[in-house]
């Protein structure tokens, strides 16, 4: 169990001076993840996206650890190359220290365009932690839908139009997909639960192989709420069970956060402009009902799987 006092003694590896929007959930997640690494030597990889733009406009790098960016769909594939180089150097005795590789990616670079590279890297068993900072849309290009966008959400490519009220499909379950790769450790968490996030990062870095974390990070601009509400909204995601906080470790599921009171999904939707049309239009009711049904079904399924051995 981490303590904030102890954590505050760790180096800030993501420097102030970056250009993220005020209240950016992604910037916060990266800062928290790097704080959690305390003492370990980390090399980071990232794809093109908000993080890349706000952290690395020449000549400014917010990263206080080595970092490589190549392209949009290549976080995991670039990481594969870096990790292989490291294995070579270690084999040849040129590097003695233990390095840890953290590949970041937004939901675009992870669920969609970077999906192939992620699957390949995990299948091959490279030792790295992949952290998806999931803000449920392609935010850097101005809020377009991704396969991580929830049903009903307004984005510029799934707008709340007069005929079709927002995105038509449910989110893709990326953690389940990672689990289907027989990954040793996969977890889902969010920035509001800093302790859970820090614990998961530390567990994941200890795995001798690939590990995956899906971190929900609100985007004030894309989700339509004030920057000040970022942490609050992410907490509501956990309290409504819209965002189950759980882990898959050595073949078993474990729910890490049971809300004291499971809130109805409306509590998560209400503060966000991207769901406003669901409350102002008659067809919105059915979408909200479907969202609730889906949440409840997944919550129940998750609990059913707990503690059973789910890996060959």
């Amino acid at each position: 169990m981490a303590s904030l006092k102890k954590l505050s003694q760790n180096s800030e590896l993501f420097s102030r001076g970056h250009r993220a929007c005020a209240g950016c959930g992604e910037a916060l997640a990266v800062r928290q993840v790097l704080l959690a690494t305390g003492g370990q030597k980390v090399v980071a990889i990232m794809p093109t996206g908000c993080l890349e733009i706000f952290s690395s406009i020449y000549p400014h790098s917010a990263w206080q650890v080595p970092m490589i960016h190549t392209a949009f769909e290549t976080s995991a594939s670039t990481a594969s190359g870096v990790e292989s180089a490291y294995r070579f150097h270690k084999k040849m005795g040129r590097i003695k220290e233990d390095l840890r590789f953290i590949a970041f990616g937004g939901d675009g670079g992870t669920y969609d365009i970077g999906f192939q590279a992620l699957s390949g890297a995990v299948e091959r068993g490279h030792r790295f932690l992949y952290v998806c900072t999931d803000n449920e849309g392609y935010m850097n290009t101005g809020i377009q839908r991704s396969s991580a966008t929830p049903m009903g959400a307004h984005t510029t490519t799934s707008p709340a139009g007069s005929k079709i009220p927002g995105k038509r499909q449910h989110r893709k379950d990326i953690v389940e997909i990672m689990i289907a790769h027989d990954i040793a450790y996969a977890g889902q968490t969010t920035i509001a639960l800093w302790n859970d996030l820090v614990t998961k990062v530390q567990k994941a870095l200890a795995v001798d192989g690939p590990a995956f974390l899906n971190v929900l990070v609100p985007c004030p601009l894309g989700w339509g709420h004030p920057g000040a509400a970022t942490v609050t909204v992410s907490k509501l995601a956990a309290d409504t069970c819209f965002w189950p906080v759980y882990e898959f470790e050595n073949g078993r599921y474990k729910v890490n956060y049971e809300p004291k009171e499971k809130l109805p999904v409306e509590e998560f939707l209400k503060p966000q402009g991207r769901f406003r049309h669901l409350f102002t239009r008659p067809e919105g009711k059915a979408v909200i009902a479907e969202l609730q049904r889906h949440i409840d079904a997944k919550w129940s399924l998750l609990h059913n799987k707990q503690d059973k051995l789910c890996t060959p």
Partner: protein, 384 residues
């Protein structure tokens, strides 16, 4: 030691001797065997290489970039659609000035699908900041791949070494290989400009730039390519001294008193040599200019070499579908624009999709070039 090897076997053999630190590769016809044979070397413990069997060529190049940025000598092999899939990553490797070396078994680009030889794949990426070498024989492929590692590391530019698909990649030719240790010692260790894994000097590789810096970085990269030719020539000289085999950027065959010549790259040079010999027997003053280095474009050498002929037939084994002429013709014409003496230039496109090209075809072209004119702007050789 003299062996009989196909082009793919020769490239893989060279790779074994180079013993790169990391290879991230994906199979594609006709280069697949290079990767397969190399995998055998890996699994038999004959190389120290970390081999990454990636899930696509795009990931292959991304992994190669990650590896080269992390202080490792890195190689791969591909062709055609695979190289095309790597396309965006090639520019990134170029901009990061990483000396990745790629063996290519030159193959046409879809659609329609065709697995046979032409130069479309490499030439389609001619703007990516990579050095590009085209080989006539299996032995030349072997030699050039070894040289390319040194050239790439000295210039900080990535390099493609191309052998024609099937014609060279799958055909057995005489290959005199060098001693493993000699190759390794001649190359020496890779000394990167910087290293992502150097924790004492942490860096960020691949930043974003705004309007104030992009052009400056590009200008710097351009300068790197501008300075590459003398380095290439120096390494060729060094190779000759170490191993005895001689190479040049441009090679002339029986051009001393030639009236007219053809200029081309790749295995078809062999067919042209035979045709030149046959026509010379008839007293016709023809010759061949073989271009080995396409990038950097040796425009100065081309200007100096070609100005003295009356007519030059430029033979493109690719077409850039620009409603005009082929890519090699374009570059040759531009090189000659400021020449005090300009030959007549004739445009030929041949051998696309492995279309059969024989010494007779070559002789036909040479005759036409000797005559110094033809009816159509571009002759598409052998098209029914």
């Amino acid at each position: 030691m003299i062996l009989a090897k196909t082009g793919n076997e020769a490239m893989a053999y060279a790779m074994r001797q180079i013993n790169p630190d990391v290879v991230a590769a994906y199979p594609i016809t006709p280069s697949t065997e290079i990767v397969q044979i190399f995998s055998n070397y890996v699994h038999d413990g004959l190389v120290d290489t970390e081999f990454v069997a990636v899930e696509s060529e795009h990931s292959a190049m991304a992994a190669c970039i990650g590896s080269a940025a992390s202080g490792c000598r890195t190689m791969t092999a591909t062709a055609s659609q695979g190289l095309a899939l790597m396309h965006e990553m090639l520019f990134i490797a170029g901009g990061l000035r990483l000396p990745i070396v790629v063996a290519i078994a030159s193959r046409s680009l879809s659609s329609p699908l065709n697995i046979h030889a032409d130069h479309s794949d490499s030439l389609a990426s001619r703007d990516s900041g990579w050095m590009q070498f085209f080989c006539e024989t299996v032995e030349e492929g072997y030699d050039t791949l070894i040289q390319a590692v040194k050239m790439a590391e000295r210039t900080s530019l990535p390099a493609i070494v191309a052998i024609d698909g099937f014609i060279l990649s799958h055909c057995m030719e005489r290959l005199e290989v060098f001693d493993d240790r000699k190759v390794r010692d001649w190359l020496g260790p890779y000394k990167p400009n910087w290293n992502l894994l150097d924790l004492d000097r942490p860096i960020l590789v691949g930043p974003a730039t705004l309007q104030d810096y992009y052009f400056e970085f590009k200008r710097s990269q351009i300068e790197g390519m501008n300075r590459a030719l003398p380095v290439i020539q120096e390494v060729m000289k060094d190779f000759r001294e170490a191993f005895g085999r001689s190479y040049d950027v441009i090679e002339e065959y029986r051009c001393e008193d030639a009236k007219a010549v053809v200029l081309l790259m790749g295995s078809a040079c062999g067919d042209v040599r035979a045709a030149v010999d046959a026509l010379r027997k008839q007293g016709k003053k023809v010759g061949m200019v073989k271009l080995r280095v396409f990038r950097p474009l040796p425009h100065g050498l081309l200007r100096a070499a070609l100005g003295r002929f009356e007519c030059v037939g430029v033979m493109d084994r690719a077409d850039s579908v620009n409603s005009f002429v082929g890519p090699l013709y374009n570059e040759v014409a531009a090189s000659l624009y400021d020449a005090p003496r300009k030959p007549t230039l004739l445009s030929y496109v041949f051998g696309l999709g492995g279309k059969e090209f024989t010494p007779d075809d070559a002789a036909g072209i040479l005759e036409q070039v000797l005559a110094g004119k033809k009816d159509e702007q571009v002759t598409y050789v052998g098209v029914r």
